[in-house]
Symmetry: C2
Subunit: 396 residues, 2 copies
Amino acid sequence: MDQKLVWESLKRDAAAMFSQEGVKKKLLAGRRLKIKFGADPSRPDLHLGHTVPLRKLKLLQDSGHEIIFVIGDFTGMIGDPSGKSKTRPPLTFEQTRKNGETYFRQAAKVLDPNKATIVYNSKWLSEMSFGDVLHLCGQYTVARVLERDDFAARMRENRAIGMHELLYPLMQGYDSVALHCDIEVGGTDQTFNLLVGRELQRSYGQSPQEVITFPLLPGLDGVEKMSKSLDNYIGIDEPADTMFEKCMKVPDALLQDYFRLTTDIGDNEFLPLMAADIRAAHMLYAMTITGMYHDQEMAEQAMVRYLSVAAGAAPDAVPEVTLPSGLLPLTKALVLAGLAASLSEARRLIAQGGIAVDGKIITDHAHEIKGDAPVLLRRGKARFARIMFHCPHTPI
Amino acid sequence: MDQKLVWESLKRDAAAMFSQEGVKKKLLAGRRLKIKFGADPSRPDLHLGHTVPLRKLKLLQDSGHEIIFVIGDFTGMIGDPSGKSKTRPPLTFEQTRKNGETYFRQAAKVLDPNKATIVYNSKWLSEMSFGDVLHLCGQYTVARVLERDDFAARMRENRAIGMHELLYPLMQGYDSVALHCDIEVGGTDQTFNLLVGRELQRSYGQSPQEVITFPLLPGLDGVEKMSKSLDNYIGIDEPADTMFEKCMKVPDALLQDYFRLTTDIGDNEFLPLMAADIRAAHMLYAMTITGMYHDQEMAEQAMVRYLSVAAGAAPDAVPEVTLPSGLLPLTKALVLAGLAASLSEARRLIAQGGIAVDGKIITDHAHEIKGDAPVLLRRGKARFARIMFHCPHTPI
């Protein structure tokens, strides 16, 4: 692929580059570049949020560059030395390797694994002596490390920061020194750490890496960034049905971002569709994503299942009405359940095909419900009621 | 020596103990204790300020405890990794060993070197891996390290603190862990670092050391603490004459502190003397100190020389009067130099033995000055004037 096209694509979608001029120059120089991407080994399950930078890495890979996945196993194995953090339990060597492989296997759904390298930063960090650490630390002032947003906020709010935590950005940055990276790619939340790498390379006499950050994908809740721990994610390793269904739940207001950041579909295709039929646009998105991470056939099956469930399924919170057991005319049941105002309206609705019992449309207005097991009534697309029956031998 | 007496002495002279109860308990338990004292290898010349804690260590040593001198060669060898500090040039391995020996040789003027140990902290610190460092750092929060006075001041004033500097207190503290110290002794300016050691031992599952701090000896300027770099010090390795002379310059207001902190002379001896004759008290102090760090005979010789110089010597800043060369009556010279208001006063002063020429008392009021070389006139103890003569062949 032409480096100029790669450059155009990065320029269009990156949140920021440090520096734009530097990225352009390096790409157009035509040299095979070492491109770093940091991976958290404690969270090996990738979701669509991860694919935002991964898709750009794919582009860079296709145009001939070397992609290096850095698995931050070193700190992962140490965990939180203060023992205070429950979110950072130490991983064993085996776990970090297993998680690294899981990560890489999933990333292979976006990138060509044969043209990417996976490295573990314990390789060089565990070899460093106290003297090396002091030398590394000597390149940075306390004030500059404390500028990192989360540190600054914790300092302001008098929340504890462990001394070891202050070293993490330096370690991540040192990875770039150890690897002689040309470019590092990450989410905007990693900007600080990525720039530390750039500056440390300069301190260690290397040509500083360029930094490219990409926007964070908002989660399905439309509030937080996508994250497994917040359960607002679409995992790229999830079953096709789940994936399809979750894609259908992307908030309308975010669908445009999702299209742009996670698919190859152009604005000229999805924008008119969204304007004309937002549900159809969701279907297109769900089909596309499920097709990407499974295949087209599975995507279609997932759609069929989704539509049949959507037609028959009821939301969890359905009003319930409990009636005496025994045969019950459907018309009466509809009135008792509040889905029809009168028996005549009930009859009309049934005749129009607007009523389903347990997901099956009933057009016979003389239909009777057996009254021995709960049934789900639906009027139109969205109004549900569940009818329960007393056991005839049980006093109410 | 009875541990109870040692305890009494420490309690009387310590600036603070953490905790008093702990020190008492450990001493009275009768066990041989490991007592740590940190030494800065970049400043191997000891002065009287150093002897304040050293003299207490001697007491502890005499009563059976093990004194461990920790030479902080590790950071010394690393120097300032940022390369920004001129005050902390890196030392070579040979320099740290040489300085350590110099330090120890001088300390041997106070302590018994055969009953003390000298250790270099590079022994354990250089063996530590990055993982060990992170574990160490994990025991402390950033906020607590930044509480150290000098860090706090630099943060307040937006003066840079290198990330590596933040690790120094932890390294010093870790020395106590590596050595399993029972007690650490130091100046009040070391309180923070000493307490870090105490807390780190606790974190590493050891019984925390007790900390005893001693007051800092003020320097000869009466303003700053005694320090070689401020040139307000009395070095314990200085020649007897210099030592004696410097002791005579201790500001009157500080002489009491000097007696208490650096000699064994009791209040009941020096206090009445100071009240009766401050100069005699200074002489006693100078004799005592010079006797301690040289010997009694050399101290006496130094005193004799001091007194003869004092009798004849003039301070550097003496008013000068330049007169035509040639024989000059002393009386006239005194008037011209401003030391007498009139010739008759000059005669009376000479007759009273209140006038010296070049340090020699002249009682002959007809005395004449040759007028071929500068002479120093003295009236009483403190008023001086120097008479210079024009060369007869040189035009003025």
